[in-house]
């Protein structure tokens, strides 16, 4: 199957759903992310969730964690450059940006990022050419899943 047909199929699958939602969105948003990132997709299963792994051409490995209810409850990434966070965090992006700006005044300098809000946890670490991050919605974690499982 050539890539044009593949892209057409994904477009049809994605049409009825929000195109830019990822974290907090339906499983279909994984395909929207894959299209936006022009990456390859691999799916694996754990006990209580599925992991959709997108490998982007720029070398970033993005994992989207999908609950039994079909919702993306966490995303992680690792690679030489950060991914498109607006795409990946979806409806949580604005909250993320506001939280970062609020924290800047308190940190008295630079360092890895740790946002811990009641409805959103984001961690970003690393240095130039080596980034690693994760974001999850605590209320959406399936029973028995711990944040440290999300790597």
């Amino acid at each position: 199957m050539n890539s044009t047909i593949m892209r057409g199929l994904f477009a049809i699958l994605a049409l009825p759903f929000p195109v830019s939602a990822s974290l907090g969105g339906d499983v279909s948003s994984v395909q929207a992310d894959q299209m936006k990132m022009q990456g390859s997709l691999r799916t694996t299963s754990a006990d209580s969730y599925k992991v959709h792994e997108i490998q982007t051409p720029a070398g970033v490995a993005v994992k989207e964690y999908v609950s039994p209810a079909g919702k993306v409850f966490a995303v992680t990434w690792q690679g030489p450059f950060p991914p498109d966070l607006r795409q990946l965090l979806g409806p949580y992006f604005d909250q993320y940006v506001q939280a970062v700006q609020a924290q800047q005044a308190q940190r008295h300098g630079h360092g890895p990022l740790l946002i811990q809000e009641p409805g959103l946890v984001v961690q970003i670490t690393g240095h130039m050419r080596s980034f690693r991050g994760s974001a999850y919605v605590p209320q959406m974690l399936p029973a028995g899943v711990h944040p440290e499982d999300l790597r």
């Binding site: 022009q38 982007t56 051409p57 720029a58 070398g59 030489p80 450059f81 950060p82 498109d84 966070l85 607006r86 795409q87 992006f93 993320y96 940006v97 970062v100 700006q101 609020a102 924290q103 800047q104 005044a105 308190q106 940190r107 008295h108 300098g109 630079h110 360092g111 890895p112 990022l113 740790l114 811990q116 961690q123 970003i124 670490t125 690393g126 240095h127 130039m128 050419r129 080596s130 980034f131 690693r132 994760s134 440290e148 790597r151």
Partner: protein, 408 residues
């Protein structure tokens, strides 16, 4: 080849500002350049100062001064202090609000200005790539591509750049007049930015008046580590800072250029730790657990950021400083760093209550400032207190081997 275009509209301002800024020293010794009083006078030594920075309130930031000149000029120059020394990134970045001379704009093959979007951990810097002769101590990087942050010329940040989060474009958000990146990398993006298509990470933009689009950028034109462009002493740097006990208001030290190139920059008894080439990390062992290629040394991080409260047993501080640890008493700890070349050695460090450490507004150097960083060790500036830390640039030969490596 990129052509260089001179904006050429600021000559009146230049004439006024030159009266208040220092001239270039050419290739001669420039001494300490206003960075502080702790350094020596050798031509490869620049003073650094840990203080609250040009914006005030900075903790654990090492600041220095650089002189930038219009390429080829020895009079159209400016010395800028309050520049953060960062071994975690390559390249010189200056806030436009701190830059009073007009530097030539780098342009692409179509004649349009080149503008960079550089992602950091907590956001990005957006601004044009311009060219300068940079002088620090007695060293000079000629025709160095630098990033000027927060100019009014390119106010519309492309969506693909703002999707990285928050713009760090002023003194309040950056905490410094600029960043001097003297890490292990030569160019900031590397080969990924030299090719077009989906694999290009999109750090460099061509910005005609119709709007900015991602473009390719050669290694030579990328914003890059000025040390690698020095005529000599170009294989790395040493940061020397004294021990710090608890919280202090000012600490002075030295930024020394070259490793094993002069009588004052030999490795001595320092141990060389080679890095994993794919991540630029090495390994830390802590409490019997090995964190393989998940650790790095970074003077641009203002604390020791490692693991998490559940793993260390140290509680994080109360809001709004939940990104720091607040143990009830100072913890005396040890860890072992291991290079990919097999060298390893243990060392001691402390974690103190960050609420107490930062409670005095005059504190600028705080040993023991630490915080969570799940699964990772970021050995920030407190690691440098009382150690001479060597950073060897990738691909450069030194008496300790070819970089990249850290040694201390």
């Amino acid at each position: 080849m990129k052509r260089v275009r001179f904006p050429g509209v600021l000559s009146f301002i230049l004439a006024a500002t030159l009266a208040t800024t220092a001239g270039c020293s050419g290739s001669g010794s420039n001494g300490n350049g206003g960075g502080g009083g702790g350094g020596g006078s050798a031509s490869n030594v620049e003073a650094i100062t840990v203080n609250s920075g040009p914006g005030g309130g900075y903790i654990n930031g090492a600041f220095t001064s650089v002189t930038v000149c219009v390429p080829g000029s020895t009079t159209n120059c400016q010395t800028i202090g309050g520049i953060l020394v960062d071994t975690g990134s390559p390249g010189l970045r200056i806030l436009s609000s701190a830059l009073t001379i007009s530097l030539p704009q780098q342009t692409g093959s179509n004649g349009s200005p080149i503008v960079e979007c550089l992602p950091f951990l907590s956001g990005f810097t957006w601004g044009p790539v311009q060219t300068a002769d940079m002088t620090i101590a007695g060293e000079q990087a000629k025709s160095l591509p630098i990033q000027v942050i927060g100019t009014s010329n390119f106010p519309t940040i492309p969506a693909s750049c703002s999707s990285q989060g928050t713009a760090e474009e002023d003194l309040a958000s950056l905490g410094a007049n600029g960043i001097l990146g003297v890490g292990v990398l030569t160019a900031d993006c590397g080969s990924a930015c030299t090719v077009s298509g989906a694999s290009n990470p999109g750090l460099y933009y061509s910005c005609p008046s119709s709007g900015c689009v991602v473009t390719t950028e050669s290694l030579a034109n990328q914003v890059q580590n000025p040390v690698a462009l020095f005529a000599t002493d170009n294989n790395g740097v040493i940061i020397e800072l004294p021990s710090v006990s608890g919280a202090q208001s000012t600490v002075t030290g030295s930024l020394i250029f070259g490793i094993g190139t002069q009588s004052n920059n030999g490795l001595g008894s320092a141990t060389v730790y080679m890095l994993d080439p794919s991540t630029g990390n090495f390994t830390t062992v802590f409490n019997g657990v090995t964190y393989t290629n998940a650790a790095f040394i970074d003077s641009g991080s203002n604390g020791l950021y490692f693991l998490d409260a559940a793993t260390t047993g140290f509680p994080t501080c109360a809001a709004p400083i939940t990104f720091w640890y607040c143990p009830s008493s100072t913890q005396n700890l040890s860890a072992t760093n291991r290079g990919t070349n097999g060298t390893s050695a243990s060392f001691n460090f402390v974690v103190s209550n960050a609420n107490t450490l930062t409670s005095n507004a005059s504190t600028a150097a705080a040993n023991g400032l630490a915080g969570p960083n799940s699964g990772t060790f970021d050995w920030g500036l407190p690691f440098f207190y009382g150690r001479n830390v060597y950073t060897a640039i990738a691909g450069q030969s030194t008496p300790g081997g070819t970089g990249p490596y850290w040694a201390y």
